[in-house]
């Protein structure tokens, strides 16, 4: 292991290490961040939710968007799987259905970055999701 030779070194090192903890850091304060929940029950996984989730995690990071991507159980919209729920800071959650990588890209670019709604919003009773 190499020694840390200066404060500058230490700071550089820290930048590299930070990402490892980002997951925990962010989730400690989710209200101020974009929260994305991917429904990952059997039906969701079967229809590709896992790929979507990975895509979201990778892309959000690449595009420097502070977000928390978590998984959740079945949201009850099995017909529209994969579904994701996006909550922008201080806004109500919005659920998108039939999400694939292309759709996910659109959601990031339009809804998350510019707060523009995109196709595929599922009108929902949020109470059921919150639980």
């Amino acid at each position: 292991m190499t020694k840390v030779k200066s404060l500058a070194d230490l700071r550089k090192m820290k930048e590299g290490l930070e990402s490892k903890l980002n997951l925990r850091e962010k989730s400690n304060n989710p209200e101020s961040l974009v929260q994305i929940r991917v429904a990952m029950a059997t039906c969701g996984i079967a229809s590709g939710a896992k790929t979507v989730m990975e895509y979201m995690i990778d892309e959000l990071e690449k595009r420097n968007i502070e977000a928390v991507v978590t998984q959740t159980g079945c949201m009850g919209y099995c017909y529209a799987e994969p579904t994701i729920e996006v909550t922008l800071p201080n806004q109500d959650a919005v659920v998108f259905g039939y999400v694939n990588e292309k759709k996910a890209n659109e959601i990031i670019e339009k809804y998350i970055k510019n707060n523009e709604l995109v196709d595929g919003i599922i009108p929902v009773n949020y109470e059921t999701i919150k639980k």
Binding site: M1, K3, V4, K5, S6, L7, D9, L10, R11, M13, K14, L17, E18, K20, L21, L23, R24, K26, S27, N28, P30, R37, A39, M40, A41, T42, G44, M53, E54, I57, V68, V69, T70, Q71, T72, G73, C74
Partner: protein
């Protein structure tokens, strides 16, 4: 390197460890491998989450789910249900004691709501055995800053300005202590971390060392730089094996990174740390006794002055601070004195860690801003008294402290208010007592501890405390007199006034504060020979209610001392002079005719 999408934080603090949290961690890892998820989900053993009452704790990140009272067998369900299917395991969630709802996010639990975590900032968040995680959380930034951008006096000034006071009990201003040590002239000076936490019922230092050892190491190096010393010693209780292991790992890692050793961060400053073990002597929490113990001698205190800042370890200037004090230092340097002093009360800045225990629903480790009230701690954080009983007192400061009562519930807690109320901050033990606790017995419990732990060097503590204990014993035996209460008072004052060290000077506090706050209870013990909490065996009386007694003779036959007499089919009677209060009769009575008075 694998990129983990989820983290499972498993509490590795002593309490949870004792409840097999290591096995939980191992099981989780095993099942993750089995499911092929070990590259996606990482299991991390962390330090204490503080919520020991509900341990072992497993926290799932990033969705912030806080599982309580997890058993090793629950690992499979957590992974299969929560991780794979995304369904939270409801039965493992914390249940709000009032509305019975399951709470999954710890932030919404009463226990965590009022807490501000400074000393405990990394406990339960990072892997204490991984220096990288500490560095990622601004670790060693403060040391770097101090070494490269500041001189010793500037550092001391920040600490002084922050208003930080020693968290070990006395509350001496930390910055001032550093300054005095820095001004002492010597070829070598020492930084000592007092980790000989000995208050029965206090475990905050242990939790910090187990959960965030690097914060202490970093702070000791900062202190060394400020006072002009290159050697650090941690005096740690041998009873804390886990903390010792973690500290050793942390020191080795810091050395590997060059954050301990020579020319730290290219600044030319050298600093290293050694461990010294305590061996079970409470008095070694007193700094002069601690120093003698580190020198391989009996841990007897010596008269101050000279203070260790002038003449300490091996006769050299020595700065002694406790674990929690050190743990607060790096944050103060990073966030500034103003930030720190904005928290807390006027004369006591920042936060204090308390070990909340006793008859309270949420036993655990809490960190709260100075100036918080007892009511907030007991009812909001602590979730109220266990089993719906009535609150009676809370003991702070361990054997050096006293009991606070209902009257003090709304007193803001800080160093000075506690002393004014006849107690003290101590290291932060906070034991809640309910109506079932006899205050004379509580005082006796603490005196028993003091008698056991007195070093024996000075007369008032060696013999005086023994006599105090004996008088209390006489009272709980039902043989006390009003004159004894007077003796208790006089003796207590003399012991306080004339003892050599802090241990003796504070040892009568449990007696004096209970005499002040529960005088009636004492009087009851000596005049009507009654213990209202039915704790004093000698004052209890087993009574047979004549109306309920059918004269079955079961009690009389089972009495080991033949204290019960009575004709068959007629009410029986217990001769109190013979009765040894074993309770056998009450156990055998099928008609509930026997009760304790």
């Amino acid at each position: 390197m694998a990129k983990f999408k989820m983290h499972l934080l498993v509490c590795g603090g002593t309490g949870c460890h004792a409840s097999l949290s290591q096995t939980i961690g191992d099981n989780l890892k095993e099942i993750l491998v089995e499911k092929g998820l070990d590259h996606e989900v990482q299991v991390i053993m962390t330090g204490c989450f503080g919520f020991c009452e509900k341990g072992p704790i497993v926290k799932v990140m990033p969705d912030n789910t806080f599982y309580t009272e997890v058993k090793p067998a629950d690992a499979r369900e957590i992974i299969e249900e929560h991780i794979i299917k995304g369904r939270k395991v409801n039965r493992l969630l914390y249940q709000d004691p009032e509305n019975k709802e399951h709470v999954s996010d710890s932030k919404h639990m009463g226990f965590y709501k009022k807490q501000i975590r400074i000393a405990l900032r990394n406990c339960g968040f990072i892997d204490p055995e991984n220096i990288d995680e500490y560095i990622a959380r601004d670790g060693y930034e403060a040391l770097g800053k101090v070494l490269t951008e500041m001189d010793a006096q500037q550092t001391i000034d920040i600490i002084k300005k922050s208003g930080l006071r020693g968290r070990g009990g006395g509350g001496f201003p930390t910055g001032l202590k550093w300054e005095i040590t820095s001004k002492s002239q010597a070829d070598q000076k020492y930084v000592v971390c007092n980790a000989d936490e000995g208050d029965p019922g206090a475990f905050m230092d242990r939790s910090i060392l187990e959960g965030d050892p690097h914060s202490v190491i970093e702070a000791m190096a900062i202190c060394g730089y400020s006072i002009g010393g290159t050697k650090g010693l941690v005096y740690i209780r041998a009873e804390y094996p886990l903390a010792i292991t973690r500290l050793k790992i942390a020191i080795a890692q810091a050395r590997e990174y060059g954050l301990l050793g020579t020319d730290i961060l290219g600044s030319g400053f050298d600093f290293d740390i050694e461990l010294r073990y305590g061996a079970g002597a409470f008095v070694c929490g007193e700094e002069t006794a601690l120093i003698h113990s580190m020198e391989g001698m009996r841990g007897e205190p010596t008269f101050k002055p000279p203070f260790p800042s002038v003449s300490g370890y091996l006769g050299k200037p020595t700065n002694v601070n406790n674990v929690e004090t050190f743990a607060s230092i790096p944050v103060i340097i990073n966030k500034g004195a103003d930030w720190f002093s904005s928290i807390g009360s006027e004369k006591s800045k920042g936060t204090k860690v308390f070990a909340l225990a006793g008859k309270i629903n949420n036993v655990g480790l809490i960190e709260v801003p100075m100036g918080i009230t007892l009511r907030e701690i007991i009812y909001e954080i602590g979730g109220g008294i266990k089993d719906g009983k009535k609150f009676k007192a809370v003991q702070t400061g361990g054997p050096s402290g006293g009991c606070l009562t209902e009257h003090h519930l709304d007193t803001p807690i800080d160093y000075d208010n506690l002393i004014a109320a006849g107690s003290m901050m101590g290291s932060g033990g906070m034991i809640v007592m309910d109506e079932d606790d006899c205050m004379v017995s509580v005082a006796k419990f603490y005196l028993d501890f003091t008698v056991e732990e007195s070093c024996g060097k000075c007369t008032p503590c060696r013999i005086g405390n023994k006599r105090l204990y004996e008088i209390l014993e006489t009272i709980t035996q039902g043989k006390g007199t009003m004159e004894d209460l007077q003796k208790l008072k006089n003796l207590s004052y003399v012991i306080k006034d004339a003892s050599l060290c802090g241990l003796g000077q504070t040892s009568p506090n449990p007696v004096l504060s209970t005499l002040d706050n529960f005088w009636d209870e004492y009087v009851e013990h000596v005049t009507v020979k009654k213990c209202r909490s039915s704790q004093c065996k000698a004052l209890m009386q087993y009574i047979i209610e004549a109306e309920q007694c059918v004269g079955c003779t079961a009690c009389a036959r089972n009495c080991p001392v033949n204290a019960i007499s009575g004709e068959r089919k007629l009410a029986h009677y217990i001769n109190q002079d013979i009765c040894i209060k074993c309770g056998a009769c009450m156990e055998k009575c099928k008609f509930n005719a026997i009760s304790i008075k």
